[in-house]
Assembly symmetry: C2
Homo-oligomer: 239 residues x 2
């Protein structure tokens, strides 16, 4: 919660060619809405109301306007989600590289990624289709690559390691968060699932019956560390 605001790395970057919002410049009269203000309001709505409650009308309400007014600044709902996404990636902490500690540093990044995802429960679903090319995303990529390359990984392995780290952590967290912001029926906890599994006929599902107790939610942190160990140890072996 106190872990900070997005960092930013200096000047302007040209946006990738396929996404350039109808972003006009400057403002003039009295306190006009900025796209930053919209982004913050939208993130607030996303965190509080979930993805289901996330509508342009709802965000506009937060800013005391109508939905139509937002379109002058952000182009589309999807473009707004891009902005939020990069804003939040800025919260991921990537340490400066210490070559002898690259394994531990990679794990730190992974833990930070998971923590940020849990802090903004619904954003991870938003991140799915998006190829991260915002300024904060680029800076994150750059800095993780720095850790891996100064750690001694060859370039192709460093890139694979980075991409796999992201997708792996995302997969884990997605699974962990379950149907967070979803409406649906009351979200069954992992423990409820555990006892449902335990209730199945043991003759037809002997292996499930024998292991049902281990499906409980308790082991999540441990499971995450196991995943990181598998990943990083294997990487080190191949470096």
């Amino acid at each position: 919660m106190d872990e900070g605001k997005p960092r930013s790395e200096g000047g302007q970057l040209t946006a990738p060619p396929w996404q350039r919002a109808p972003q006009r410049a400057a403002r003039r009269r009295r306190e006009p809405i900025t796209s930053e203000a919209i982004t913050e309001a939208a993130l607030r709505v996303l965190d509080n109301e979930g993805l289901d409650g996330f509508s342009m009308r709802r965000i506009a309400e937060e800013l005391d306007t109508g939905a139509a007014s937002l379109y002058w600044h952000v182009g589309s709902k999807d473009g707004l989600l891009d902005l939020i996404f990069d804003r939040v990636i800025g919260e991921v902490q990537v340490p400066d590289p210490q070559p002898r500690r690259w394994r531990e540093q990679l794990k730190e990044v992974a833990r930070s990624l998971r923590a940020v995802a849990k802090r903004h429960r619904d954003l991870i679903r938003v991140s799915l289709g998006r190829i991260p090319t915002g300024p904060n995303a680029l800076s994150c990529t750059e800095r993780v690559l720095a850790i891996l390359r100064t750690g001694g990984l060859p370039d192709d392995l460093a890139v694979s390691a980075y991409l796999l780290l992201i997708s792996t952590v995302n997969g884990f967290t997605l699974d962990e968060l379950g149907n967070a912001g979803q409406a649906g029926p009351l979200p069954p906890s992992a423990d409820a699932v555990g006892s449902y599994l335990a209730s199945l006929p043991a003759d037809r599902f002997p292996n499930i019956a024998a292991t049902a107790e281990h499906f409980a939610d308790a082991g999540q942190d441990q499971r995450f560390e196991l995943l990181l160990d598998l990943f990083v140890d294997g990487l080190a072996q191949r470096a």
Copy 2:
């Protein structure tokens, strides 16, 4: 494409307590709609039109009715997605356990999982919130656990391995499929991203600039195998 229809393991299972659709029984007059027919039609719409085009009205049209008619059979759009989800899990192939080959067999399951996900490009997003408790999902869990346990993994590690396998493969595939069914601006290919990365100022992003070529899409299969190797080797070491 010819890899088969859902399997099913014998009799009826009571659904988990939190999801029981207002499913009534039997039919009588002339060719009434069944929930199976709705499921198939819905899967067809999902595969052809994507998640964006997936609306109750569109599915009803496929069956020459109005949207309201579907509600007698499936309860809600979300319940329908549950049905589709389990229907497709049935396509995942899990071999009978051969204790000496458990490592290779686990990889086979992972590859099948990825293949199925790619065959139904948008279903993976559907799977996210869902805790898989349908008959096909249970059978899949049971059979993978069988492989792991006869392979010699202790129960807690077997469960962790299973859960991590699923979330890891899902994470990878999610990343790989990108914003498949999304509307959005023209989906930038991984190669387009590669050349965008290559165009960045090398003084500010030296590590990205040095490795941009490796971000290309080409290495996906190889990257997937690397992931499986890391995962399975590490598991074997801990067994």
